[in-house]
């Protein structure tokens, strides 16, 4: 039976891992290579790296880090942040990424999804969306959750998967950083809309939030979080153990 995945997300800026609350007030945490190794050792099923650097120097530093992580850690690596073209896909894939996550770049140019899927396969293209409730509907936001695109989120995710995205990351702006649990109604709606794996993001505050997530929305394939893992609030090994005891299939590492 396929297991539910636990995915730590590392937001990287100028070579360091950061995590904010509601996308603002970023705090420095640790070395990405060190954190990645620790997560892998403790049973993380996959790692996501978001490059939130704007400068060219920062971007070069990011690919150096990625290469170092890929050289030492042998679990799937997803990379996102600043992916606007097939050339950007190529840049991170040659550094050892397995999947590439597109967000604002795909909103600006939806053809990017299909072009990348055709070239690298759908399994390589992850459509990530920052979603917030506006006027009674789910609305997609761009630019790190700052800009309301006016697009309805479920229609966008459906279009994205039809264009070739092989997985979707649903990041609820409404619950992100609040640590009060995942956005179950939003996730349920997405699971009823797309037929590719759904990765839940935004709102994890404790072990119970993950148990609730997988029990309440069985269609969710993975839970993604950042700060609860970085600060050790939710140790991954203990989380896996708790999930297993609640009859949720997970990979138990050696």
């Amino acid at each position: 039976m396929i297991t539910k995945r636990i995915i730590p997300c590392l937001d990287v800026k100028n070579g360091r891992v950061v995590k904010g609350t509601n996308f603002q007030g970023l705090n420095d945490v640790s070395s990405p290579v060190e954190l990645a190794a620790r997560y892998s050792e403790n049973g993380a099923d996959e790692l996501v790296f978001y490059d939130i650097t704007a400068s060219v120097e920062g971007r070069a530093l990011f690919t150096d880090i990625l290469r170092e992580v890929a050289r030492t850690i042998f679990i799937p690596l997803t990379v996102g942040g600043g992916i606007n073209s097939v050339a950007d896909f190529e840049r991170v894939l040659t550094c050892g990424a397995d999947k590439v996550s597109v967000n604002t770049g795909a909103l600006k140019n939806p053809d990017l999804i299909g072009e990348a899927a055709e070239r690298y396969g759908s399994q390589c293209v992850v459509l990530s969306a920052d979603i917030k409730r506006v006027d009674g509907e789910f609305r997609v936001f761009a630019n790190g959750g700052r800009t309301d695109t006016g697009r309805e989120a479920l229609a966008w995710l459906k279009e994205g998967t039809e264009r070739g995205a092989g997985e979707v990351v649903v990041n609820s702006i409404d619950t992100d950083g609040v640590k009060n649990g995942f956005d179950l109604p939003m996730l349920e709606a997405v699971c009823n809309t797309v037929d590719v794996p759904v990765i839940a993001s935004g709102g994890a505050g404790c072990v119970e939030d993950f148990i609730t997530l997988f029990k309440a929305v069985p269609g969710v394939d993975a839970g993604l979080a950042a700060s609860v893992f970085h600060y050790g609030t939710v140790p991954i090994a203990a989380l896996k153990d708790a999930l297993r005891k609640n009859s949720i299939p997970v990979r138990i590492t050696l």
Partner: protein
Amino acid sequence: MIAIVDYGVGNLFSLKSSFAAIGEEATVTADAQVIATAERVILPGVGAFGDAADKLRETGLDRAVLAAAAAGTPLMGICLGMQLLFDAGEEFGTHAGLGLIAGTVKPIADVIPRDLKVPQIGWNALRLTAPKHAIFRHINDGDCVYFVHSFAGMDCAPSVIATTEYGAPLTAAVAKGNVCGCQFHPEKSGKVGLAILKGFCEWEGTV
């Protein structure tokens, strides 16, 4: 030295790095001569069966791989590389494979319940056949490995050395003589994956 066959499909950085991590020297190569003299050969691959089979033939590396297999060199196909070992693949039409493993690569949708997602993406447990094949000597039945696939080897029962349960038992690994293949990605399967690659590197290419 291990030759990782480079015929223009997929990123081989992790594969090369994973051999380095277990202390084995591996080279990514498109040189038939290097493949002919290698101690072991890895046939990787991602993408669609037909495209990959075409690329392998266009580069002439199909002959290099077949020659290595005939010479008794231990050979491992990974993911699509494993599928190419089969007689044929039914992805976007029927395409001929290398014919090293008897069987056909078919959509998993044909055999799994309709409510399961395709592709299967994620970590799933291996069910090893008894007795355990040599490449699995360092791992245990039930260990999880990382899968990404929409197709799987079928009608290949005599060669199956591991299955995985995804609504139905799917072919996870095959072996025949000095040729073996993994549907999952050992280079992305953590310590278990590295242990399988180690087992492959110690394997003499006999059943």
